[in-house]
């Protein structure tokens, strides 16, 4: 899953990006509204963490412009805590709202929920033919036995499971698994697919030659 974090305070930006990367997300960052809008409209993120008080282009305007073309879930992060600020945020196109200072665990949980909801899955646990993916603990069990996966492998499994029954193109995988800073050369999609097949069974992932991959429900 790929997330964009737009926050002008560098210390805070660092810690949020850090924690999300440790979660296994691919994280892109932006320090002002202009940069944030550019990135948000250029790529498909699974979620965007957006600070409201931004230089150059403020969060409200960014959100407004973003919503003309993208339906990506947006979580607003801000110091404004009054009710009408929250209402404004949620009515303005945001999907969730967190007030600073917040706890990182809450941020992570809310992001998970947003991503889950965006994929149409309401339950944190996805069962695909005996393979159970628990998005909360980021763990996968196969027939009750936990399977050890790398961060990238889990990300791939989660992405396919969230889109279970639907085709996931290679491009989508690229976009959702890798951030802008990632060195793509060493992370070929096929490598990860084959690794996952080794651990979860060949039939787990179906190849659509020339198009992409999917997991059948």
């Amino acid at each position: 899953m790929r997330i964009l974090v737009v926050e002008d305070d560098p210390d805070l930006l660092f810690v949020i990006a850090c924690t999300l990367r440790e979660e296994g997300y691919a994280v892109d960052t932006a320090e002002d509204g202009d940069e944030g809008l550019f990135k948000a409209t250029s790529w498909d993120y699974d979620a965007i963490v957006l600070d409201i008080m931004l230089p150059k282009l403020d969060g409200w305007s960014l959100l407004d412009r973003l919503r003309r073309s993208k339906t990506v879930p947006v979580l607003i992060l801000t110091a404004k805590d009054r009710v009408n600020d929250r209402v404004r945020g949620l009515d303005g196109g945001a999907d969730d709202y967190l007030v600073k200072p917040f706890e990182l665990t809450e941020l992570r949980a809310r992001l998970r929920a947003l991503i889950r909801r965006a994929a149409g899955k309401s339950h944190p646990v996805i069962d695909v033919k005996g393979v159970v993916i628990d998005t909360r603990s980021r763990s996968v069990t196969r027939n009750g036995i936990e399977v050890e996966l790398t961060a990238r492998e889990y990300a791939l499994v989660e992405l396919l499971a969230l889109h279970a029954g639907r085709l996931v193109t290679r491009t989508m995988i690229y976009e959702h698994l890798y951030g802008e800073d990632d060195d793509s050369l060493s992370n070929l999609v096929e490598v990860h697919v084959s690794n996952v097949r080794k651990k979860l069974g060949r039939e787990f992932i179906t190849t659509r030659r020339g198009h992409g991959y999917l997991v059948r429900i």
Binding site: P55, K100, E103, L104
Partner: protein
């Protein structure tokens, strides 16, 4: 004590209207009355002319209808006098006696005074040698009259029975009278001729009479004016009634109209009462025709505009302040969480703690600045005003910040005149440092900063100008606002939170001074601070000795 304008308006309106109506009514009534009596009297005059035409003494052309009347001479009619006549006699007696004494006096002969009472039957005889009996008009008055006998009938026919006349002589003898003239008391008339003809008006109850002096007799003409007076009174009552109606109509109309005028006041009151903190955006309606009240409403609306602006500034300030504190808090909290999430190497932990420390310091600055501003706002902060020399303070700041400037090859030129004033030394230092730091920070590399201090009449002036990036005209009016930052990203890096200039402004204004700026983008900025020499609004009481110490300081300045 509340007294409604409407009530006051009404009372005054009623009083004025009533007064006007009363005065006017009285004038009209008086005029009517005068006119009425004039008409009555004119009528009586005409009547008297009619009578006089039918009554003349002999000597003129005789008419058939005229009966010769010989008026008996007073002395020949002693035995036949009636009461009126006896009265007349005593008159005549007196007349005669007077005439006699006059005569005697004229002739120088004294005669015995006539008896004071003339009783019936003792008329004094005419003095010998008199040319004729004493008459009414002089001694030679005619005693023979022609009287038209038909005249009284004619008179009554023409003029009705309410009118009457009596023609009589001075001695009381009635020549002729109308039948309607019953019980008419004849007035006492002077026997002597008067220089000016008499026209005497007399009123007995409802009877109005005029007594005319004709050539040879007196004529009394009168009539009842009961109906005239009644008519007059009727008209007077009508007038009063109309006046009352007008007053009532005026009051009612006035009441209604004043209600209409006052109504907008009530509306304004009601609307204003509704405007409160929760709905500060409401305004009083100023549609409709322009009146003083719409002007008032407009002014009130403008006042509320200013209030709303002030309030929203307050709200913005609080929001900004909370943001400035919440972000470093979030940094500290998140970093701590992340660090504790799992086992971390020492260097990472080190970095985390360093970040936390930085954020905590940032919060400290914000908190201190906010507290300072809050104290200035509430007036809690007292300035410790003592004599100081602005040039010295400026000099110290320049020396302190020169290394910072040199790092970017920025030169500081100081042109410092001695400038003594009564002010808070620490606070003034804060201002100078802040302005100088800005001048350096927002300058180009290799740029220039000029610091000047001057002493002027009653105030000291500090000038700090730079050749830096300048301030856009759209930002210029706002730069002294709290938390206002022209470029958020840039100042965040430098650690600025937009409170520096706001604090400078508070300090300067607390001294009773003013701070101004001129600037053009890329052409640099020029800040000017003026402080009064004699301390400011929050100045402490300064000891006398301190004051005296200021004097020598002032004399060294180039005033």
């Amino acid at each position: 004590m509340f007294r409604s304008i409407r009530w006051t308006l009404q009372m005054w309106h009623a009083a004025i209207l009533a007064t006007v109506l009363i005065v006017f009514g009285w004038i009209v009534f008086y005029q009517m009355r005068v006119t009425t009596y004039q008409q009555i009297d004119a009528g009586l005059d005409r009547m008297s002319d009619v009578v006089a035409a039918g009554l003349r003494p002999t000597g003129g052309r005789q008419r058939r209808a005229f009966r010769q009347i010989d008026v008996p001479r007073p002395d020949a009619n002693v035995a036949n006098r009636d009461d009126a006549a006896s009265k007349g006699a005593s008159d005549k007696g007196r007349e005669k006696a007077d005439a006699e004494s006059k005569d005697a006096a004229a002739n120088g002969v004294t005669r015995p005074a006539p008896p004071s009472q003339v009783t019936q039957g003792e008329p004094p005889g005419p003095p010998p040698g008199a040319s004729g009996p004493p008459g009414f008009f002089g001694r030679r008055g005619p005693r023979a009259f022609e009287l038209n006998e038909d005249f009284p009938g004619f008179f009554e026919e023409e003029l009705g029975t309410t009118a009457y006349f009596v023609a009589f002589l001075g001695d009381g003898h009635v020549l002729l009278k109308s039948t309607s003239a019953t019980d008419v008391p004849l007035p006492e008339m002077h026997p002597e001729p008067r220089a000016a003809p008499i026209r005497m008006v007399r009123q007995r109850g409802n009877l109005r009479e005029i007594i005319y002096q004709h050539r040879f007799y007196y004529l009394l003409v009168g009539r009842s004016i009961e109906s005239d007076v009644a008519a007059l009174h009727e008209r007077a009552w009508l007038l009063a009634g109309i006046s009352a109606a007008v007053l009532a109509a005026g009051l009612i109309g006035g009441f209604w109209f004043s209600g209409r005028v006052i109504k907008p006041i009530a509306t304004i009151s009601a609307t204003a009462a509704e405007i409160s903190l929760s709905n500060l955006s409401r305004r009083i309606d100023v549609s409709g025709t322009e009146t003083e009240l719409t002007g008032l409403a407009r002014t009130l609306n403008q006042m509320i505009d200013r209030l709303e602006s002030a309030f929203s500034q307050q709200v913005r300030f609080t929001a900004d302040a909370s943001h400035e504190l919440r972000t470093p808090l979030a940094v500290i909290l998140s970093h701590a969480e992340l660090a504790l999430d799992k086992a971390r190497p020492a260097n990472e932990l080190r970095e985390t703690i360093e970040t936390c420390r930085r954020s905590a310091l940032r919060m400290k600055t914000v908190v201190e600045s906010l507290l300072t501003l809050a104290r200035f706002d509430s007036g809690e902060l007292q300035l410790d005003c003592r004599p100081l020399d602005l040039s010295k303070i400026a000099g110290d700041c320049v020396a302190q910040l020169r290394p910072l400037a040199e790092k970017r090859q920025i030169t500081i030129d100081a042109d410092l005149e001695s400038a003594g004033a009564l002010a808070d030394s620490d606070r003034v230092t804060q201002v100078v440092t802040n302005l100088l730091t800005n001048a350096i920070r927002y300058n180009h590399d290799g740029g220039r900063v000029v610091v000047t201090t001057r002493s002027s009449k009653g105030e000291v002036i500090l000038g700090i100008s730079d050749t830096g990036i300048g301030i856009d005209s759209e930002h210029l009016p706002h730069i002294f606002e709290r938390f206002y930052r022209v470029d958020k990203a840039r100042s965040r890096k430098d650690g600025g939170i937009g409170l520096g200039l706001a604090i400078c402004k508070s300090i300067v204004e607390a001294h009773g001074g003013q701070i101004t700026v001129t600037s053009r983008p890329d052409a640099g900025s020029q800040f000017e601070v003026r402080l009064p020499k004699r301390g400011g609004l929050l100045a402490d009481v300064v000891r006398d000795s301190e004051e005296r110490r200021l004097e020598p300081l002032a004399t060294t300045a180039k005033d």
